[in-house]
Symmetry: C2
Subunit: 528 residues, 2 copies
């Protein structure tokens, strides 16, 4: 931890709050709260049903043991999933949440299913606080963790807490479209910043802020940034510590609040290596300390001023239907976000809160790390397998990108596979290019339409959709690149884009998907 002390009082964070947030009324009972929950006091104050009338006497679950995936750390060949399939005897243990607790500190339904504080069950608060402080190691001591109903809900609450209509939010030029969709109706605009292989470029950020022309842009200089630093959506990039320090320091200089939306944090897959390289890799059991140190740090670790709001979610590490996650931020923002919760979502579902709390208490901190390590390895294997399939179906050559997003970085250029010596006219033009993702669920393809005869006539966006439709008709759905553009005015030259997810399909289907992609792409160019 950089600092054991609180964030400096001299930093004025209050002026970042939006009009809506400042006006938000405090709980009308504020002055009376000293009497609440006083031992021996009878309360006929709230509209609470008696827990007697909750028709759930007990909820429970069979949960996977924490080490379910951790042992699968040996390097896998292309057909390893067959072995996984046959060896997958999920080992489970039962957890249970009774209506009435045996000890007052036990998780119980009489509390979890009752009206509760927007900040949620105390046991869950405890677990979340431990995960945050031990893994992310915030740079100041008085950080607050506060639950929300998933990062989409969390981002919505932040937008209305920090932004006023007419303001701009800094984001990467390619970004998560739902984050923009949340802002648009409130009249809050995206201010795209150029990217490179680590995500948002600090050079471009400084340029954007230094050269800000309030009149020309028609808005004040942005004071909020939205960033997905790990497994960037859609590019799969991972932002390292140095880049984060650079960006943080620019944000200090220009007084910008960093909103770190980090759902893929524990899906850090590292650099891609070929199957033969992977076979030579030493697989040693990592200690917890080494594992934590191996992860790209959170912006929180450098946040001595309290200007980071981090969004964590259980969506990718437990299940999306949890609709549960948490903010980590300074106490000023946390208080406003909690007030927001009181008049909208209130506390997230008590079923989810109690079952997830019981799961995490069962696993303990050590077990959580074991689960997360194992999960990360699963995604690494999926990423590796998917790129192996690309190697099988395309001729891939690595070379520095001459222009575009990854200019100067070595990337893979994919062309049609030569089909034996007889076919001397084999097409060697580049069909698409990519950087193997280092985190997350996605791979981002640049489609090279340079050689396509209809490029001049139709433009790259129409070609992108034509190819997208041909793929769908051929039986493969992927994400069209235009969805992810934060700046509709971006000069996209002759490139289209696709985002492909390797997170969910079976290994067999991932392989089939590459087959379809190869066939349809070939026909798209050949029959043009």
């Amino acid at each position: 931890m950089l600092y054991e002390k609180d964030m400096p009082d001299s930093i004025d964070l209050g002026h970042h709050l939006s009009v809506v947030s400042r006006n938000r009324t405090l709980s009308p009972l504020k002055g009376l709260q000293k009497y609440f929950g006083k031992p021996g006091i009878l309360s006929l104050a709230g509209g609470l049903p008696s827990p007697e009338y909750f028709p759930f006497e007990r909820v429970g679950a069979d949960i996977l043991v924490a080490k379910s995936y951790a042992d699968n750390s040996t390097s896998k060949g292309t057909f390893a999933w067959i072995w996984d399939f046959f060896s997958s005897k999920a080992s489970t243990v039962p957890i249970s949440v009774p209506k009435y607790p045996e000890s007052p500190e036990d998780v119980n339904l009489a509390t979890a299913l009752q009206y509760g504080l927007a900040r949620g069950l105390p046991q869950l608060q405890g677990v979340i606080n431990e995960l945050t402080s031990r893994i992310y190691q915030p740079a100041y001591a008085n950080f607050v963790t506060l639950i929300h109903a998933g990062n989409t809900d969390g981002w919505m609450k932040i937008v209305t807490t920090l932004c006023n209509p007419g303001e701009g939010v800094l984001c990467s030029e390619w970004t998560y479209p739902s984050a923009l969709a949340t802002m648009v109706p409130y009249g809050i605009r995206s201010v795209p910043v150029k990217m490179d292989v680590q995500g948002m470029s600090s050079t471009s950020l400084r340029k954007t802020l230094t050269e800000w022309d309030e009149k020309g842009r028609g808005m004040r200089r942005p004071h909020v940034m939205y960033v997905v630093p790990v497994g960037q959506n859609p590019t799969g990039a991972t932002m390292g510590a140095e880049r984060k320090k650079e960006i943080y320091s620019i944000c200090v200089e220009f007084d910008v609040i960093i909103v770190e939306d980090d759902p893929y944090y524990f899906l850090q897959e590292g650099p891609y290596r070929s199957p033969s390289q992977r076979l030579r890799e030493q697989q040693t059991e990592m200690t917890d300390e080494k594992y934590i140190a191996s992860l790209a740090p959170s912006f929180l670790k450098f946040d001595y001023q309290g200007r980071v709001v981090r969004l964590d979610t259980f969506s990718k590490i437990i299940a999306p239907g949890s609709r549960l996650g948490w903010f980590t931020c300074n106490p000023i923002f946390a208080e406003r976000l909690e007030r927001q919760g009181e008049t909208s979502t209130q506390a997230p579902s008590g079923f989810g809160q109690s079952l997830i709390t019981q799961l995490l208490l069962n696993w303990q901190f050590k077990g959580c790390l074991q689960w997360l390590k194992g999960l990360g390895l699963q995604y690494k294997q999926r990423r590796d397998f998917f790129i192996d399939c690309l190697f099988e179906k395309f001729h891939l050559e690595m070379a520095p990108a001459p222009y575009g997003l990854f200019e100067g970085t070595p990337i893979y250029f994919a062309s049609q596979m030569r089909r034996g010596y007889r076919n001397e006219k084999a097409d060697t033009r580049v069909l698409f290019s990519f950087v193997p993702p280092t985190s997350g669920m996605f791979i981002w393809f640049q489609l090279h339409f340079d050689g396509h005869p209809q490029l001049r006539e139709l433009g790259q966006e129409t070609l992108e959709m034509k190819l997208w439709t041909a793929l769908a008709e051929g039986g493969l759905l992927i994400g069209p690149g235009s969805m992810f553009s934060a700046d509709k005015a971006i000069e996209m030259s002759s490139q289209g884009h696709f985002r492909l997810s390797f997170s969910n399909a079976t290994y067999d289907d991932l392989k089939k998907a590459v087959d379809i992609f190869e066939k349809v792409l070939r026909e798209f160019h050949e029959n043009a």
Copy 2:
């Protein structure tokens, strides 16, 4: 059902939508949706984790059987809770939700815990639609039911969907403070309408709308109404069919959308009768049809134009921690509300959705009605018991209210109990008055400070808080009346107000609460 046909196309509802709602972007994949979920198509489009990685293999619960409370329908004396206590052997049955379904139509975690549509599990949609159409019987056929994360969340979504900053919302002069707290930060003001013993007065509503002075008020005539028609919060009033028809017809005339927030709908307790009257009551098992017909109808039943948005919640009939409920409204509003969900809460928790769906499927429609009947009777018994306690501790006399909220209606006036003949100077002045609530969880006391020597000096609001504090110091927490005032400028004459809840405390504690109330109130007047 009044109409089997759709609502008339000639009614223009679209102009009620707010700027925020109109701008809300459609899902960017809208044009591509025909390919989604097509059989045989491979999807690498979304960022979905594989259900393999959900650490929940099964969730389950022990649920109460539907008839748990339905048999308790015999009339109870004051000490009946003792018998209840000894006879309460909760009978439970197990329910279970596996990760993978045996048949595709079964509720399962692979779907419930995955990213899903904001409109929720299809099985839950089915159950909710059946409850809505069979119980509330909407007046048009193409109504839509859409889940939300509880009525607080639902109301928040409606406010941002229907209202623009600077507009006013019609509401009762005394109302649920959280509903107002949701509006205030968005610059939306409450427009209080006078009430009587059935809640919002139609006469006062017509007067407010007819005499609307846009310039004087500084806002256009309101086009949205917020109303809690059953178990009105805080007064406990129930609005009957005739009043609802009057209000609906005024809303047609002035083009107002009615938002019916109805969490206490199934807690309809009917008129209070004394213990001796109750003993003479015939208790016969009610058929389902008779039960449904006995309930005050929803505004939906008269809504031939689709101008009602109804908010239902599982908070009072299952448990508040469910954070699950549903809108019923016209298809135009429903589509906008669903888009709102996509960029904020998304679908409510999959744990709650799947467990509650399984509970309701286990109970079946008939069982649900049995549960609801039984629950209503429980609240009737609580209401009866609490008023019985008031009879034991105070001298209660019924007479028409000379002024105020219940002017002309017979209400109870409470004065100190005479203590035998020796005390000839027994104080007969009225200390408080009330109307026995006919639904819900609350009883609303008017505090008569007329005779209090400090009234002129301190005013009724300060006296109210002095008495509130004395009660809290004496061990009893209740809701201070000033919290519930929609109009801070209301002339409250010499009356203070308290809201007391009889929903949660044990019968023993309800009795103790009345004892404390009597003692503190007596001392408050005697020692003044």
